[in-house]
């Protein structure tokens, strides 16, 4: 067993052969504090991780998704017609899936009217904090609260199932859609509108989207608004939590349907949401190195600092001795004892 001693790569020196100084003690304390700070910041960055963006092509078989919408339109509900169609040839009678509430048209506080929302991409933590699933409330009847107010607007809200292919969601007035024999009087048509919410996939009302809280005002009846969206499936992952949602990019056009065309074939007044689902999907995930990698790295950094500090200490000591003399030495100071030994 004593043969083990020969393997000892960390030989110790007896205390009597080691010189210590108060300045060395101070520098040691400062070093320990610095090491504690470095360790703390390294732990912080380890637990904080880093955000990794990956993109790929989804191999899942896709069929349907949903559009979540909540908007005010400056036309009474009875004249509105809402439907969706897409390249499969399907026509979705979404009128039956949505809730329609008559109300006096107004613009909620904080709505960006005739402008665009500030372009910003929500971060991973923000999305996960706001990813609280919800459902739309039931339809309410406000007519009892009318109080001589004109109910000239319509609140349309709900979730609509759609095929995950290129398509259009139309909000127009009656008389322009198929098999619709009612004709909307021109004075009732006004497509001023406010989007309180427009998102795809599971309904997370607190996550911001490009069309949320935006509005368009017009005094013309024959106005057509078209919103072009490219929808990108996005997954957010952090510490086991996973949120599947959809982001979208937005382009928009508006046009006035001329009197000669009004009510004939061609552009019709209304709001059209064109959607297209992209092939590429994005995965935003919170990543971190393995715990053992982190420990090895931390120890290496700390030992490197200790080594550098001890080297700097020796170098400074050497410089002080050379420049200012031995009494300025940081290491070899007299301990102020009287040398009154027996052999003096």
């Amino acid at each position: 067993m004593s043969g083990l001693r020969t393997f000892d790569a960390f030989p110790k020196t007896d205390a009597q052969h080691v010189k210590k100084s108060s300045k060395g003690g101070v520098s040691s304390i400062l070093t320990y504090l610095f090491l504690a700070f470095i360790a703390w910041s390294e732990f912080g960055s380890f637990f904080g991780g880093y955000v990794d963006h990956q993109y790929g092509v989804s191999s899942d078989m896709r069929e349907t998704a949903q559009i979540n919408m909540d908007l005010f339109v400056h036309t009474p509900c009875k004249w509105l017609s809402v439907f969706a169609n897409d390249i499969t040839g399907d026509r979705k009678l979404v009128q039956n899936e949505l809730s329609f509430e008559d109300l006096p048209f107004y613009i909620p506080y904080g709505t960006n009217v005739d402008g665009r929302n500030e372009i910003r991409t929500p971060g991973l933590d923000e999305v996960l904090a706001k990813a609280i699933p919800a459902q739309f409330r039931e339809k309410l009847d406000f007519s009892a609260l009318a109080d001589d107010q004109e109910f000239d607007g319509c609140h349309i809200f709900g979730s609509i199932p759609i095929n995950m292919v290129r398509g259009d969601l139309h909000i127009t007035v009656r008389g322009f859609s198929l098999a619709d024999f009612q004709r909307t009087p021109q004075e009732a048509i006004n497509f001023s509108h406010v989007f309180n919410e427009l998102s795809f996939g599971d309904f997370y009302p607190y996550i911001d989207n490009p069309l949320d809280k935006t509005g368009r005002l017009t005094s013309e009846a024959a106005k057509s608004y078209r919103y072009h969206t490219s929808v990108v499936p996005t997954t957010f992952r952090k510490l086991g939590a996973e949120v599947h949602t959809f982001q979208y990019s937005l382009g928009e056009t508006e046009s006035t349907v001329s009197g000669s065309q009004f009510g004939r074939r061609g552009p019709i007044p209304g709001i059209v949401l064109s959607y297209n689902f992209e092939a590429l999907s994005i995965t935003v995930s919170d990543e971190r190195i393995s715990f053992w990698q982190f420990i090895v790295r931390l120890i290496a950094i700390l030992s490197f600092i200790v080594y550098i500090v001890s080297w700097a200490f020796r170098l400074t000591d050497k410089l002080l001795v050379v420049v200012l003399g031995p009494k300025w030495s940081l290491r070899y100071q007299s301990d102020n004892r009287q040398n009154t030994g027996i052999l003096i």
Binding site: R5, F10, D14, D60, G89, D90, V296, R297
Partner: protein, 401 residues
């Protein structure tokens, strides 16, 4: 430089051997450190030799390239002779001349067993010419033959084979059914063949080259024809047999070169493989559709080899061709158009994914990590040794170590 000057700048000061104390615990710690160091170095070595694929996104700038189509599909309730495949793109061209190699049609019995394979080129049929040189076959009103007597023989309008009659019917947009009572078809055994094989299935396998633009490929029963309204198929025989449908099994569908081995991990070059579509309701008048978005992809391997292929995402949809409200989703109204078929609509993405194979770590990174590991272990060893040494001294005195 003087020796004394060199000594004065020696940052690695040594302790005299006489005053150094070695302990058994120190030896154990050293051996443990060596063991752990070797483990860490081995893991670093493995990391150095680990191959990872890093994706890169670029705009696809390739021009004049064709898109390879690789397909292997089984139709359990559709006989081979009735099944047709067309490839159309957004230019309106029927892609018949782009077939790289012959496609094989394998006849299947009702249990899915093979009954024999024949190769065919899309748009080509075997002609069985009559033996009599003076024979001029009737076209049964599908073509005007009334002026034949006034013309020289080489200008006569004749339908010599069953296929000629069938083509004439197509041109006239008449339903051909199974060729019953048409002498050319009876002579060639076409009617007998049709009725004999009507309950068979068919497996189609092959490759083609497509233009890199939006388009579709589709399988449908009966011969194809076009008119002002669009592209259609003569489904008269199909309509007559209600047990026929386009339920299918996609054994393989991919666009571009096929990948070997590990490269296929985590990429969707063929996400439809193994897809079985066999609904538990009557699909005789049903159209099945796959909307495919193709993303060009290049794999760059460590040895410098490159493979140009594609990945794609798919949306599946099915609907009755006669339209009407969906039985499961009453708010969905299907359009009344088309014919029983299996469609694959494809469109190209302007973006390209480049998957580069590379080592997870560079040599310089490997060396740095090795040094870091060794330094870290030595530092831990030093601290542990100091702690144990001081603990032993305070607990058991100087001699116990």
């Amino acid at each position: 430089m003087k020796k004394s000057t060199l000594l004065s700048i020696d940052a690695f000061a040594k302790t005299e051997e006489d005053v150094r104390i070695r302990t058994r615990t120190g030896g154990l710690i050293t051996l443990s450190c060596v063991l752990v160091t070797f483990m860490l170095l081995f893991s670093e070595w493995r990391q150095l030799h680990k191959v990872v694929s890093r994706p890169e996104l670029v705009v696809d700038r390739d021009r004049h390239l064709k898109l390879d189509l690789n397909m292997d599909v089984t139709f359990p309730h559709m006989p081979c002779y009735l099944l047709n495949m067309d490839i159309l793109d957004s230019s309106g061209e029927l892609q018949l001349d782009l077939l790289e190699s012959g496609w094989s049609k394998t006849r299947l019995d009702s249990s899915g067993q093979s009954l024999g394979t024949e190769n065919f080129k899309i748009g080509q049929q075997d002609r069985v010419e009559p033996t009599d040189e003076n024979y001029c076959g009737p076209c049964y009103g599908a073509k005007d033959q009334s002026q034949n007597e006034q013309k020289p023989k080489e200008e006569w309008i004749c339908c010599q084979t069953c296929e000629d009659v069938r083509t004439a019917y197509m041109d006239a947009q008449w339903a051909f059914f199974d060729g019953k009572d048409i002498e050319q078809c009876e002579r060639e055994g076409y009617v007998e063949k049709v009725n004999k094989h009507i309950n068979e299935g068919c497996r189609i396998k092959g490759k083609a080259k497509l233009n890199r633009i939006e388009g579709n490929l589709h399988f449908a029963p009966g011969k194809a024809y076009r008119n002002a309204q669009g592209h259609f198929h003569d489904i008269s025989l199909y309509e007559k047999n209600s047990n026929l449908n386009l339920n299918h099994i996609v054994h393989h569908l991919s666009f571009g070169q096929q990948l070997e081995g590990d490269a296929t991990e985590s990429v969707s070059t063929a996400p439809l493989d193994g897809k079985i579509v066999s609904p538990d309701f009557d699909t005789h008048y049903h159209q099945f559709s796959y909307f495919v978005k193709i993303v060009p992809t290049r794999f760059e391997y460590l040895d410098g080899a490159k493979t140009e292929t594609t990945q794609f995402s798919t949306t599946y949809h099915s609907r009755p061709v006669r339209g009407g409200r969906d039985s499961d989703h009453p708010n969905t109204v299907h359009s009344r158009k088309g014919f029983p078929s299996l469609y694959v609509f494809f469109e190209m993405s302007p973006l390209k994914v480049i998957n580069k194979q590379q080592h997870a770590q560079t040599w310089s990174g490997f060396l740095l990590n090795c040094i870091t590991s060794i330094g870290g272990i030595l530092a831990v060893g030093t601290v542990l040794d100091k702690i144990t040494y001081k603990a032993q001294r305070s607990l058991w005195g100087k001699k116990s170590t």
